[in-house]
């Protein structure tokens, strides 16, 4: 097991954002987390990547208890992530942004290597033309791609993507999924993608999914089985989700 | 006077002065709580209040208690001017910008005061009867200061609880986007909160003069900036009420330690209490950066 999340709980004041959630992720797995807005997905990521400490429960990465480890000590172990609202280093160039990932993530590259790694992943996500632009000037979509490249440059073993496909058209989504499958196979990265509404994207990408609802884990299992479960459909607009169906995602905001 | 009498009378003094410290810090906490701006120029506004009390008393014979109202008005005006000329342009700017800007504003006010009023130490004495507490005699003026601080703090509390505008401020603190959606003009709330914070600070400057009879000078504020930060951090930085309580605690700590330091031969206790203020700050930040009396994370 690459990641074991055991019974983690996180409260904000009176609100229980994540309520004793447990799940496991295998090495190189494609895992999906779905759940409506406010169901605790981002908070879960924040606890895995070390932004927040859970109030209770344990997080075990590669056999090691990392619950009390600060965020900066987790990245070198191989945990990379993107942010729901992209957080580039705005006045640095895209190339420098991605290079930072290579320098301080699991890659621990020196400056020269980091630039090479950076160029590789910038090319991979298709941002070569923007490489020398200040990251703050990118479009929201480009920022997402830049964050993906930056996370990949860390050479993670676990990649946590927070709504990375939101706002993309079906063609872009197709490309991203293809890219993710490629890095997953070539670099043995376990990829966790979390989405609010892009169900058909998840059906194409994930082998297993977990459904979150109001801070709790509602269900977990093989993607199609879970997404067609009565309880899940109830949570999501009452719509039945067909494999690969375009436009099956709800457009609530 | 024996040591215990000395200590007791200093502690009483500490409570009285602490109420003014509390009031002086409420403005700082209010501004930080609403705008997330640390007013590094805090003490300069307090100094303006001290001068207001001095001039109103020496020129017109106005009692400091009456001067509070003038000080509040001056403070509101100063606050609005500062907000609309500088602070408004820095909303959303990096934290460094607001730190440097408020620092510059504070310095500017001090230098202006020096230019206009000169660098001398000034003071006035408001003759009020003394009340004997058995151990020592306390001037009524200091008791008025305590009462005035409590009344102002209470009025502010009621204003937040009961008025529409006060509730709007609280709404902005809790959820800025939500407040905007509800039709609250966030910039105006910012302006009002900033001005109110400055007004409280200027008013506390009036009351401070009842404790430092000859200490009014353009640079007197620096000391209170430091103390206000200690108190604000003690009280949780974002909460005006936390700040008010913490003011009493700090007043007691300061005057208690002054008495104790007096026991050590060959030191100047007065200078050392200021060193203690700064080390207390570091220690509190070390133990619990978000404030000892609760308060939220930044």
């Amino acid at each position: 097991m690459l990641l074991k999340v055991e019974d983690v709980t996180k409260r904000f004041g009176g609100l229980v954002a994540v309520d004793s959630v447990s799940f496991e992720i295998k090495e190189g797995e494609a895992f999906g987390i779905v759940g409506p807005n406010g169901s605790g997905k981002t908070t879960l990521y924040n606890m895995i990547s070390g932004v927040y400490q859970p109030d209770s429960g344990r997080i075990i990465f590669d056999g090691r208890d990392i619950t009390d480890l600060p965020a900066h000590a987790r990245a070198p172990l191989g945990i990379g992530r993107t942010f729901q609202i992209p957080r580039p280093f705005p006045s640095a160039t895209v190339r420098e942004n991605v290079a930072v990932g290579a320098m301080f993530g699991r890659a621990q590259a020196d400056v020269k290597e980091a630039m090479e790694i950076s160029d590789y992943y910038i090319e991979l996500v298709g941002l070569s033309e923007q490489a020398n632009k200040a990251a703050g000037t990118l479009t929201p979509l480009e920022k997402r791609l830049m964050e993906l490249a930056r996370a990949l440059a860390m050479k993670p073993r676990l990649l946590l993507l927070d709504e990375v496909m939101a706002g993309m058209n079906p063609k872009d989504i197709g490309n991203i999924i293809e890219l993710l499958q490629k890095v997953r196979q070539e670099e043995k990265i376990a990829v966790v993608a979390m989405v609010e509404h892009l169900m058909h994207a998840i059906t194409k990408f994930a082998e297993r999914v977990m459904v979150m609802h109001q801070g709790r884990k509602l269900l977990e299992g093989p993607t199609m089985e879970v997404l067609n479960d009565e309880r899940v459909i109830e949570v999501y607009l009452g719509k039945k989700i067909r494999e690969g169906a375009e436009g099956a995602e709800g457009h609530r905001t | 006077m024996g040591f215990w009498e000395q200590l007791a009378s200093n502690l009483v003094f500490g409570i009285l002065l602490g109420s003014v410290y509390g009031l002086a810090t409420m403005g700082l906490s209010l501004i930080f709580g609403v705008l997330r701006i640390v007013n590094v120029g805090h003490g300069a506004f307090l100094m303006i209040g001290a001068y207001a009390a001095f001039w109103l008393f020496t020129l017109f014979g106005l009692s400091p208690i009456a001067s509070i109202f003038m000080a509040l008005a001056v403070g509101l005006a100063l606050g609005f001017i500062t907000f609309y000329s500088v602070i408004k342009r820095l909303i959303g700017a990096p934290e460094l910008s607001t730190l440097l800007a408020t620092f510059g504003i504070g310095l500017f006010i001090e230098e202006l005061a020096k230019l206009v009023w000169g660098p001398d130490y000034r003071g006035y004495s408001w003759d009020t009867p003394y009340i004997s507490l058995g151990i020592s005699a306390i001037s009524f003026s200091k008791i008025y200061a305590l009462l005035a601080s409590i009344v102002i703090a209470f009025l502010l509390f009621m204003w937040f609880k009961k008025t529409k505008l006060g509730m709007a401020v609280r709404a902005v603190v809790e959820d800025k986007e939500g407040a905007m959606v509800c039709g609250i003009d966030v910039t105006r709330i910012y302006a009002l909160s900033f001005a109110l914070g400055i007004a409280l600070t200027v008013a506390s400057g009036v009351l401070i003069t009842l404790f430092v009879p000859v200490g009014i000078n353009p640079y007197m504020g620096g000391e209170y900036t430091l103390k206000a930060f200690v108190i604000a951090v003690l009280g949780g930085l974002t909460s005006p009420w936390g700040a008010f309580y913490a003011g009493f605690i700090f007043g007691l700590l300061e005057n208690g330690s002054y008495t104790l330091l007096g026991l050590i031969p060959d030191v100047e206790p007065f200078s050392l209490t200021r060193f203690i203020a700064f080390t207390t700050l570091l220690i509190i930040l070390l133990i619990k950066p978000t404030g000892l009396l609760g308060g939220e994370e930044m």
Partner: protein, 325 residues
């Protein structure tokens, strides 16, 4: 490397003007103090985006370090070796203070850090005066000690010439250090911290470590400047002089005016500020802060990128890119 060339050319011009044009050494030394002060402070404020309102305490402790070394060692017969010992002690004392303050406050966010630093200079001054440390409010006078160590002639030469050359060298060293830092992993880490501290953490950057490293480096140079520009030059240290907040303000203005985090910023800012101050002290003696304070506010509001930051943007993509760093 071209950015360093520009830097070295400016330094060379200053040095040549100072040494060859009669009567220009003192004015150049006057400017060099501000350039060095800016260079030292830039390593912290410019590279981390954090502000230390008590920065002058590092210069002050440095100047005490030198004075203590002179005052307590002049009878030992160590002779001229006392000078480097003094510099060492100066650096050591500033570094100790930066460790004490940094270890507590740099674990915290920007505003809390700034709050924690606001009383450092005053607090220290009151400790020295209150506990009668190091001569208390009377300070330390080393005019006699210096004469005994170096002889009258040499002591004179040290205050009028060597002290300035030292400041010049320290400023240059600080600039070169900045250059090296910017191009190493540390520079990228500090950039990330400055831009988004949370994101930097998640990228694996130990933000506290890098902030403290920048803080210590900056304090180290500040201590050396205090030891040379104040103690060696004036031959005395008074607490009421060396803890003056004015120097912190000057350091901030120089860095912001020139362009925070740029290599050339402190040079441009220091020279501009020095000239401005010189003329202001002629026109409005005693009221420099009256001009300086609104200037700082104006820069922050209207021109936050500073002169070099502005030029850097303008030359991006032209053949001058790289000369302005």
């Amino acid at each position: 490397m071209r950015g360093v060339h520009t830097l070295l050319i400016i330094y060379a011009i200053l040095l040549i003007v100072g040494l060859t044009v009669p009567g220009m050494w003192q004015p150049v030394a006057f400017l060099m103090f501000y350039v060095a002060l800016g260079q030292a402070f830039n390593i912290f404020l410019g590279l981390t985006g954090y502000v230390d309102f008590g920065y002058v305490a590092f210069l002050a402790l440095g100047s005490y370090g030198m004075a203590i070394a002179m005052d307590s060692l002049y009878q030992t017969g160590l002779g001229a070796a006392i000078l480097p010992i003094g510099l060492l002690l100066a650096a050591l004392m500033s570094i100790m203070l930066s460790l004490a303050v940094g270890a507590v406050a740099l674990r915290l966010r920007g505003a809390y850090f700034a709050i924690a630093t606001i009383g450092v200079n005053e607090g220290f001054r009151y400790l020295i005066e209150g506990a009668r440390l190091w001569g208390g409010s009377e300070g330390i006078i080393i005019t006699g000690a210096m004469r005994k160590i170096f002889g009258r002639e040499m002591a004179n030469f040290i205050s009028t010439m060597v002290a300035d050359v030292l400041v010049f060298g320290i400023g240059l060293l600080a600039a070169l250090t900045t250059y090296v830092i910017i191009h190493k992993r540390m520079g990228y880490a500090l950039m990330a911290i400055r831009e988004d501290e949370d994101a930097a953490r998640v990228m694996g950057i130990n933000v506290t470590k890098y902030k403290i490293m920048a803080f210590i480096t900056s304090a180290f140079f500040a201590g050396l400047i205090g030891a040379s520009a104040w103690t060696l030059k004036m031959t005395y240290v008074f607490p009421s002089d060396v803890f003056l907040i004015t120097y912190t303000v000057e350091a901030i203005v120089i860095v912001m005016l020139g362009g925070a985090g740029t290599l050339l910023g402190p040079v441009v800012g220091g020279i501009t500020y020095g000239l401005l101050k010189y003329y202001l002290s002629v026109i409005l003696p005693g009221f420099q802060l009256l001009i300086l304070a609104p200037l700082l506010v104006a820069i922050v509001v209207a021109f936050p990128e500073g002169i070099v930051g502005y030029l850097k943007e303008r030359v991006r993509g032209t053949r001058f890119e790289g000369y302005i760093l």
